[in-house]
């Protein structure tokens, strides 16, 4: 019988014994409380528990929402009357750049990610997400990085190139100041934090669901977050590469985007929008997921057409990667291409239509109680429909040629983003605050908040469609009198202040009523929802992890709360006297092993500060100062991961119903292996985007690469490079073989040798290119060719650090054939890097010959 079958059988057998009505042993609950005890006072900063980090994270996202909103109010004040002089043109240009950037990168994405961190473990009945310190690190890095980024405004060095930062305007020639660097390094850094969060969410959803929760019973929000995380993993690499290319162009003069030197500014637009359009759905899909949870809650009815809604989420996520050119209709792209993208863009309205009518149908089957979440849900439905309809309009190429880059588009994007994401967010805040606070928000004030925000929104943005059609472009700091724009703009400004008043009132209510109490005294299920997050909970999550057979288990089994609270389900205590959660198979969530989770600590916190400081020093061009911070960041990360992989500290333990689980896993079953696998996908996407860049620049050169790629590097050097890569792969494979046979001492030198061979291969390849006289500064060709080498070299550097860590663990007695995660992760990344190196090598050597 295969291991999977055995596990399934053991699990089914255990289920026969559960819920276990026997009284729980004395002291079990106290022990559980003790290991999950959160740090008190200022030490709360070292917390890693999802309810803490999730709340901090949501709070920080709201802070940036307010900071970004203030900028919007200043802009609307400037635009209230024609030729006003509230702010200067320079300031205005910084304001709209910062407003867009903050709302997209520092508010919207972190806000949905934070709700994932806060809600997912409860919805999935996991004790915590699988990498608590990684989410804590991502949060702190985002907070410090984001605040430093915002402060650039006060020194008048904020980015001013627009939130999509088109070169050549943002190149060193036309933006010589450090303004653009703040954007490129600041945002590049925050994207890394978003990816860390996405890895956490993917592995969390797929591996740490409560035993037996199938994907068919997954709450819609978890489905949405799964699609969200997949999109972050596939979409963000494009902008990471793009920002890297532009920063390298600015700093080292590699002409990726300079047309008269063989680069092309259109390359940026493709990379940016290949990320930028999915970004919109990255923000919207989690909000849609929230709606699919909240609407059934307020209607007290099950979601109609659940399978279709899930299908719609997946379809939207997929289509999102095929529509990026609809931001570029006016760039002169051939009519055939824009027509294709026009059709693809329209297809997106089908999954949107499915969801809208599924929500309406759900409302029809239930009886709505008009609470604040219900009001925001209905406002969302109407507003988002309107945004969707104008979306269809701008998907039509000839209309877009008129509407593009005008206030019509400003109106449209706010309809879909505020209507589609902010309204659901408010509904979500009102819904879930009772889960973490011992007082709910005020229903009475909430109605005013709702009226001001939703009313103000439509006052501000409905007329803006006409402002745009009358010829007012976006991103203008003023407009002339006498063009019929005055009244519209004044109305928009009044609406903006109404939104501001609503948000202010909301903050007042929050200050008055929000009392963070995740452990005890929280108000609980005031709206009578049916999903697991409303089980009675404490810092440890739920007392026991229930087996669920439906999507609204609290509606279907009213006694479930009691059973869970009495510890009658899985993992009622802490068998290993540590924080733990159960890891299961990705589809059926059949328990596989008990994962031990880390508790509070400072290493990830200090690593986040050091990382943020490292990027800040680079931005303000204090390059020498960046070195100690970079070293410190790496050192803290090493201290943090040193305690990981504790090995087989315990024999298999009983987790309830007689089910015995191992306390340790290695290889493809372990959550760590999954995380590295996801990281490899991120790296592969970055590489794919660079390959795209190579072919894009090639296709735009009149003679292809022929004028540039002569002379070619020597054949001898090619054979050496090929040989080194192959030697590296063989050494690593042999190291693995020896590890499997139990011989650690022989493994480690072989792994080191493999990494050194890879680094030597990159070095020889780069030297051979340099020997031909090719320079990165010469042309777009030179720049992209050396960029391949730089990318491979950075993998080599990472592997060097990792293999150094493997050596350290071996010397410290922490590496042996059963305790080998450090080696396995290094090996996995090594194979990826070797593969990427070989493809790079073959592409750069052969393509110029073939294409000539």
């Amino acid at each position: 019988m295969s291991r999977a079958r055995q596990e399934e059988a053991a699990f089914r057998k255990a289920l026969e014994n559960l819920p276990d009505k026997m009284p729980r042993p004395l002291g079990e609950l106290e022990q559980l409380k003790k290991v999950w005890e959160p740090p008190k006072g200022w030490r709360a900063l070292s917390a890693v528990n999802n309810s803490y980090i999730g709340t901090f994270y949501t709070g920080a996202a709201l802070l940036f929402f307010i900071l970004g909103g203030v900028l919007a109010l200043i802009m609307r004040t400037q635009l209230a009357a024609p030729m006003a002089e509230v702010v200067s043109q320079e300031t205005y240009n910084q304001l709209f750049t910062m407003h867009g950037t903050i709302m997209m990168f520092l508010f919207a994405v972190p806000a949905v990610e934070s709700l994932g961190v806060l809600l997912l473990p409860q919805m999935l009945a996991a004790r915590d997400l699988p990498f608590p310190r990684l989410s804590a690190f991502a949060f702190w890095a985002y907070l410090f990085g984001g605040l430093a980024f915002y402060c650039s405004l006060f020194f008048k060095v904020a980015p001013d190139g627009g939130w999509f930062m088109y070169p050549p305007l943002t190149s060193a020639e036309y933006s010589p100041g450090i303004n653009a660097d703040f954007w490129l390094l600041g945002i590049g850094f925050i994207e890394i934090s978003a990816i860390a969060g996405a890895i956490e969410i993917v592995v969390g959803i797929l591996r740490t669901r409560t035993p037996g929760m199938t994907l068919a019973n997954l709450p819609v929000f978890a489905w949405a977050m799964l699609v969200f995380a997949a999109m972050v993993i596939l979409g963000f690499p494009a902008i990471i590469l793009g920002t890297a290319l532009l920063e390298i162009e600015r700093t080292f003069d590699w002409p990726f985007f300079i047309s008269h030197r063989g680069g092309d500014p259109m390359l940026w637009q493709h990379l940016f929008w290949f990320f930028g359009h999915p970004e919109v759905y990255i923000i919207f899909l989690p909000a849609a997921g929230l709606m699919s949870m909240i609407i059934p809650m307020v209607a007290r009815a099950r979601l109609v057409a659940y399978p279709l809604v899930i299908l719609a989420l997946i379809t939207t996520g997929t289509l999102a990667f095929g529509v990026w050119v609809h931001h570029m209709y006016a760039t002169g792209i051939p009519a055939m291409s824009v027509s294709f993208f026009s059709a693809a863009s329209m297809m997106v309205s089908v999954p949107a239509g499915i969801q809208i009518f599924a929500w309406i149908a759900t409302l029809a089957t239930g009886r709505v109680k008009w609470t604040v979440p219900a009001l925001f849900s209905v406002a969302f439905l109407i507003t988002f429909t309107m945004g969707g309809l104008t979306g269809v309009m701008v998907a039509m190429v000839p209309f877009d040629w008129q509407a593009h880059d005008t206030h019509f588009v400003v109106a449209h994007l706010h309809y879909v983003l505020i209507g589609g994401m902010v309204f659901p967010l408010f509904a979500a805040i009102y819904t879930w605050i009772p889960m973490i606070s011992n007082r709910p928000l005020s229903e009475k004030l909430g109605r005013w908040v709702f009226g001001l925000i939703v009313g103000g929104f439509h006052v501000a943005f409905l007329v803006m469609h006409w402002t745009g059609l009358r010829g007012m472009p976006r991103r203008v700091f003023t407009y002339p009198d006498g063009l019929g724009l005055n009244d519209f703009n004044l109305i928009s400004t009044i609406g903006a202040y109404m939104i501001g008043a609503g948000v202010l009132l909301f903050l007042f209510d929050l200050a008055r009523n929000f009392r963070f109490a995740p452990a005890d005294g929280e108000v609980g299920n005031v709206y009578g929802a049916g999903t697991l997050e409303w089980l009675p909970s404490d810092n440890y999550g739920f007392r026991s992890l229930p087996y669920v057979t439906s999507r609204e288990p609290l509606w279907d089994r009213p006694e479930l709360s009691d059973e869970v609270e009495k510890g009658q389900w899985f993992l009622p205590g802490t068998p290993t006297n540590a924080r733990e959660t159960i890891v299961g198979s990705p589809i059926g969530s059949i328990p596989q092993y008990l994962m031990r989770l880390p508790g509070p600590g400072w290493d990830h916190f200090l690593a986040a500060i050091a990382t943020a400081a490292f990027f800040l020093m680079l931005t303000v061009q204090l390059y020498w100062w960046s070195i100690p911070f970079g070293v410190a960041a790496i050192a803290f990360v090493f201290r943090w991961v040193w305690e990981l992989d504790p090995g087989r500290t315990h024999d298999p333990v009983e987790v309830g119903g007689g089910l015995k689980l191992p306390v340790y896993a290695t290889g493809p079953r372990s959550h760590a292996w999954w995380a590295v696998a996801v990281l490899n996908i991120v790296l592969a996407m970055i590489f794919a985007c660079l390959v795209f860049s190579y072919f894009f620049l090639w296709s735009n050169q009149p003679g292809g690469w022929t004028p540039y790629a002569v002379p070619q590097p020597s054949l001898a050097s090619g054979l050496v490079v090929l040989g080194l890569y192959l030697i590296g792969i063989i050494l690593m494979a042999f190291a693995n073989h020896l590890m499997g046979r139990g011989s650690t001492p022989a493994t480690v030198p072989l792994a080191v040798g493999a990494v050194l061979a890879l680094i030597a291969a990159v070095a020889v390849d780069t030297a051979a290119l340099a020997a031909t006289g090719l320079e990165a500064k010469d042309s777009g060709y030179g720049a992209v060719v050396y960029m391949f080498q730089l990318l491979e070299a950075s993998l080599g550097f990472t592997l060097l650090l990792m293999v150094g860590f493997v050596v350290a663990r071996w010397l410290g007695g922490r590496l042996h054939p059963e305790r080998r995660l450090a080696f396995d992760c290094t090996r996995q990344l090594f194979y990826y890097a070797a593969g990427q190196g070989l493809i790079t090598f073959l592409l750069l050597r052969l393509f110029p010959l073939v294409s000539a």
């Binding site: 036309y174 760039t331 297809m347 949107a352 000839p398 008129q402």
Partner: protein
Amino acid sequence: MERPAGLQAEPVATLTTAMTAGAGLLLGLVLIVLVLALFGRPRWRERIGRERTVIILGIGLPVLVLSALLIWGLSLTASLVWPKPTDPLRIRVTGKQWWWDVAYLGGARPRTANEIVIPTGRMAELELESSDVIHSFWVPRLSGKVDMIPGHSNRIYLQARQPGTYLGQCAEYCGGPHALMKFRVIALPPDQYAAWEARQATPALPPRTAAAVRGQSLFLGSACMVCHAVRGTPAAGKVGPDLTHVGSRSTIGAALMPNNVGTLAAWIADTQHIKPGNRMPAFTMPPQDLIALATYLDELE
């Protein structure tokens, strides 16, 4: 949409009206279903609360509406991109931070700035280029917008039905005073256009008044001629707008102010306040010199 005045804007205005009406109808439909779902009689709510609603209204309806719309959109796109004009008036417009260089490629090949004169009833084929950052060429009443991208040459077609002045502006954010990068398209009846073209092609006439004579010597003796060209004089700068017939243009500063001696003088002396960040430095000089210089320019008709 702004009242269309050109062949390329008219069908789009029709499309806009149709889509706005259609969007209104669909929104109305969604609202009716929503209101029935929330407050309707049980019979209605029971009907709406089925998976069938989702399939018919959520999948069927969009597919139907969008297919029709797409066919319209694609055929209109094709007709706008490939208008197959016979003997178009060819003009190269180059976007520059923050003004428009206009070079006629046919006929007497006049060169001007920030003002594009076209004859009514004949199609103009514009080659759109950029010499610095990305700009976007947009005359709402005549046509949609097309970007001007360094290293790329894009094309746009304009044909005005009626004589008139049509406002245009840069639609792609291009830094600094992007908001003030405007221009005008002036459509003239064919005979007036021919006369205009002939006048523009001639070199500048010598200054007539005493002030203008003094102004010319100031112009030629200062930094002006480093950046500006006045055909018929030694001034052949290529950085700023060609000023050979600047007096004949209706505006200055990229359609920022009406063109007269006063505004010209103000522009020269205070350009950085009027249009902050623009590439022309302000020149300080005695008032009488300033007036003389402005008079010279004003006479360049």
